[in-house]
């Protein structure tokens, strides 16, 4: 990939201009995300760099938008809701999804193609359509739960959003876990059975540790799907289930406050953490699979 010593001037020019073009595209990819971070420390309520900030004057920077995020009840409610909804939805999609992925990876599954298509469909259908369908169905489901089962309105609201988010996360769990299971050596479970372990023991002591990286990264995908989801929650939820993305969406559409940038920065930091975790898991999984016989 290096430039050979015999390259002509034209080739040199092309080589360097190609590098510059790629540099510009990387800049395009990363700049918007990077720009948000310093702006979130703006001492003013503006969305641009003030002269003080450009002079690197400490006067121009402050943590007030972060303070607003951690004290404003609206943002705190949104934060709390996100932290309630996303983990529960993730647990549902991971537990059901892992079981189904194990079932799907067996050799003789009737209607495998159809089943797979149904399970993957929440990822394929555009969110706005899922949201429209869920809006109709979940409002009658909610009415039924409130009137017939006599459940609390707030509780029903959470149930609706959690169910909707869980089903949106399922395709990611299915895809990552089945991908991990492809490399799984079946003779290991047979060996375990041979040595007297029941199916449950085999699952938790042999299979689970080996597919765990896939399960965790599927779970992370499901978590981020729910944590980042706004269209469905806008349609299915009510104001008391307002999540973080919902609050940001309202903020962007109506009164735009720099607190959004502080939240954005926090979320970028979280996603860097998640990215690192997934990458480490992927490597671990590759190492484990490299070690497993067969």
């Amino acid at each position: 990939m290096g430039l050979p010593p015999y390259a002509t001037t034209g080739q040199r020019i092309w080589y360097y201009s190609f590098r510059v073009i790629c540099g510009l595209i990387f800049f395009f990819l990363i700049a918007p995300i990077v720009v948000v971070m310093p702006l979130s420390f703006n001492a003013q309520d503006f969305f641009t760099f003030t002269p003080e900030m450009l002079r690197l004057d400490p006067e121009g920077y402050s943590l007030k938008h972060y303070e607003d995020f951690f004290t404003n009840p609206q943002w705190q409610l949104a934060m709390k809701n996100s932290l309630i909804i996303a983990p529960i939805a993730t647990i549902i999609s991971v537990s059901l999804g892992t079981l189904a992925a194990i079932g799907l990876s067996q050799s003789h599954v009737p209607f495998k193609g159809t089943i797979m298509a149904i399970l993957i469909s929440p990822m394929i259908v555009p969110l706005i359509i899922s949201a429209t369908g869920m809006f109709f169905f979940y409002s009658s489901l909610g009415n039924w739960m409130e009137n017939t089962l006599g459940l609390d309105k707030g509780f029903v609201g959470y149930v609706k959003v959690i169910l909707a988010h869980a089903v949106l996360g399922i395709p990611f769990v299915i895809i990552t876990v089945t991908a991990t299971l492809v490399g799984f050596d079946r003779s290991l479970t047979r060996a375990a059975a041979n040595m007297g372990a029941g199916p449950v023991t085999t699952f938790f002591r042999v299979q689970m540790p080996l597919i765990l990286p896939g399960v965790i990264s599927g779970g992370l995908f499901a978590f981020i799907t729910s944590f980042d989801e706004v269209v469905v929650v806008l349609f299915v939820g009510s104001a008391s289930q307002k999540t973080l993305p919902w609050q940001m969406f309202i903020g962007l559409r109506e009164q735009i406050s720099p607190t959004i940038l502080a939240v954005a920065t926090i979320l970028v930091v979280i996603s860097i953490g998640l990215l690192t975790t997934v990458e480490l898991l992927r490597r671990r999984s590759e190492r484990l699979r490299g070690m497993s016989p067969g």
């Binding site: 595209i25 079981l99 469909s121 929440p122 429209t132 369908g133 969406f249 979320l267």
Partner: protein
């Protein structure tokens, strides 16, 4: 070798194997079943309910059952106006609908087809009492007892025989009208003799009793019926033969018949409420849209309308939805093309750099991929605003005058730039994984055979990278045509997609049928694209991260 092979337990091996296989299948399905059920209930059924709602049109026949029935004999081509019977049916349908506050809903529904019907229904609902009073006041003057609910109850409630079919029919009518359960004890059953003698009055009284008992939770015996009972009685008395009747209120009925209790002239009365009722338009609309299923929403979704004589297109300047579909496809193509242009060099670079450097640069692609969509959208709002970062930088450099800042948000440009950024990783990742498999030796071989750099790339490398471009393009296109959040925030009015229109009809205009029809069209488009994707790339090859 006629001998059958046996398994260890003595059963033939074939059967033993089949049993083992069956058990395995059942176990696999048992593991899948909970999730399959979960997805079916929480996702597939909702989508199905949306598809159903896009053609469902029961509201007209549920709200105006007798009118729809009467209108079926009306020949819209020939007759000027529907018959008096139709107006009469309309009065009774509308009266109970107005009491249940359902007539405004129907008005809203029909207003999608013909503007003005919403206010027509709303205003007419208030004035129905005036029509009823034509009969009610004289009846009251004849005998004060008519004003008493107990008189009516005594007259109508079953003595010897119950008219079960009338009761069941009216339970169904009220249930469909109010969209709720009407079973259970209502402390009333229509008397068979009276029902035969006074069919209309018995019908309306029964409907009223069911409504009062099931919706308001009151005892019909102790309540006064609605005024609509008087015109019904007046109409019945015009033909009823009371000579053989000696039940409750027999004398009062005879007195009313002898006094020629006046019945309203419904055609004239409706025209007096609102002159529009004297025109053909509202009746044609009701007749055209009286079916239980309609293609009307789909026609509306493509800027057409269902009229009495078939389908009609909207005038050219009002075809907003077709324009919007076109714009959605056009802008998605533009976004896809800019993603190809920007993604190709990056994927090439990543595939051809040494592993260590490529992994480092890959982080620059994956970070935006993992960052919250809202974060990226807000970042673009910050960048593109008139007082935003890009404009500030351009002013600072001196390319743009301070009083002449570029307008790059709330238009198509804003949507295209930010969505290109958001979807670019979805283009780069499939391209990268395809390019990784292309052997660099092919390029070297081409060059050693005398190809120039360009020929070697265009004739050898590029054709092999096309699967990557195809996979990325379809993925980006599918994601783009269903996008909602980003166009909503940076698209203004000119840069929005069909999905924004769906959201508008769900949350603002409340035309859910149209929203469902638009959604169905979009869903079909996406499924066709996915089918193509599956044929070209294979769904199983979807990779994440």
């Amino acid at each position: 070798m006629a001998e059958v092979m046996l398994a260890a337990d003595g059963t033939p091996l074939k059967r033993s194997l089949a049993r083992a296989l069956r058990r395995q299948k059942i176990r696999a399905l048992g593991l899948i079943a909970p999730l399959l059920l979960f997805v079916l209930i929480t996702f597939i059924i909702p989508i199905g309910s949306m598809l159903f709602r896009s053609v469902e049109n029961e509201i007209v026949s549920n709200t105006l059952p007798y009118t729809v029935q009467a209108l079926s004999s009306w020949d819209a081509e020939q007759d000027a106006l529907p018959s008096e019977d139709t107006f009469q049916a309309m009065f009774f349908d509308m009266f109970i609908a107005a009491e249940a506050k359902r007539h405004t809903r129907l008005g809203t529904r029909l207003n999608y087809e013909t503007t003005g019907l919403s206010s027509l229904f709303r205003q007419s609902g208030r004035k129905l009492d005036d029509i009823a009073d034509v009969s009610y006041e004289p009846l009251e003057d004849l005998d004060k007892a008519w004003d008493d609910g107990e008189t009516w109850y005594a007259l109508m409630n079953a003595r010897d025989g119950t008219d079960e079919s009338l009761l069941a029919e009216q339970r169904g009518r009220v249930a469909r009208l109010t969209d709720s359960e009407t079973l259970g004890d209502i402390n009333f059953a229509p008397d068979a003799e009276v029902a035969a003698l006074l069919p209309l009055a018995a019908r309306e009284y029964t409907a009223w009793a069911i409504y009062v008992a099931t919706q308001d939770g009151r005892d019909p015996a102790a309540r006064d019926p609605w005024e609509a009972i008087a015109p019904a009685l007046a109409l019945d008395l015009q033909t009823a033969d009371l000579s053989g009747y000696d039940g409750p209120a027999a004398d009062m009925l005879r007195a009313a018949q002898d006094a020629n209790l006046p019945a309203p002239d419904f055609t004239a009365a409706f025209a007096e409420i609102d002159e529009d009722w004297g025109k053909r338009v509202p009746w044609e609309t009701i007749k055209t849209h009286s079916g239980k299923f309609t293609s009307g929403y789909f026609l509306n979704a493509v800027d057409a309308q269902k009229t009495a004589d078939g389908m009609a297109w909207q005038p050219e300047n009002k075809q907003i939805l077709i324009t919007l579909f076109g714009r959605t496809i056009w802008m998605s193509m533009l976004i896809m093309c800019s993603c190809i242009l920007l993604g190709y060099p990056i994927a090439w670079l990543l595939a051809n750099l040494p592993m260590r450097q490529a992994n480092l640069l890959l982080i620059l692609v994956l970070l935006p991929f993992w960052t919250s969509l809202l974060v990226r959208t807000s970042a673009w709002k910050v960048m593109l605003q008139q007082q935003g970062v890009i404009n500030d930088v351009l002013v600072w450099i001196g390319l743009v005058a301070d009083d002449n800042r570029l307008i790059i948000i709330n238009n198509q440009f804003g949507t295209i730039v930010s969505m290109t950024h958001i979807l670019l990783p979805f283009m780069i990742l499939p391209m990268y994984s395809v390019m990784q498999t292309i052997q660099p030796t092919y390029l070297r071989a081409a060059k050693s055979l005398g190809a120039t750099n360009w020929t070697a790339f265009w004739r050898v490398y590029f054709p092999q990278s096309i699967p990557g471009i195809g996979a990325g393009s379809i993925l980006v296109f599918i994601l783009a045509i269903g996008y909602y959040i980003t166009p909503e925030i940076v698209g203004g009015t000119k840069g929005v997609f069909i999905s924004n229109r769906i959201a508008y009809h769900i949350s603002s205009s409340l035309n859910w049928g149209l929203a469902a029809a638009l959604g169905t069209i979009l869903l079909v488009a996406v499924l066709i694209l996915y089918w193509a994707y599956d044929k070209i790339v294979g769904i199983d090859n979807v990779k994440l991260g």
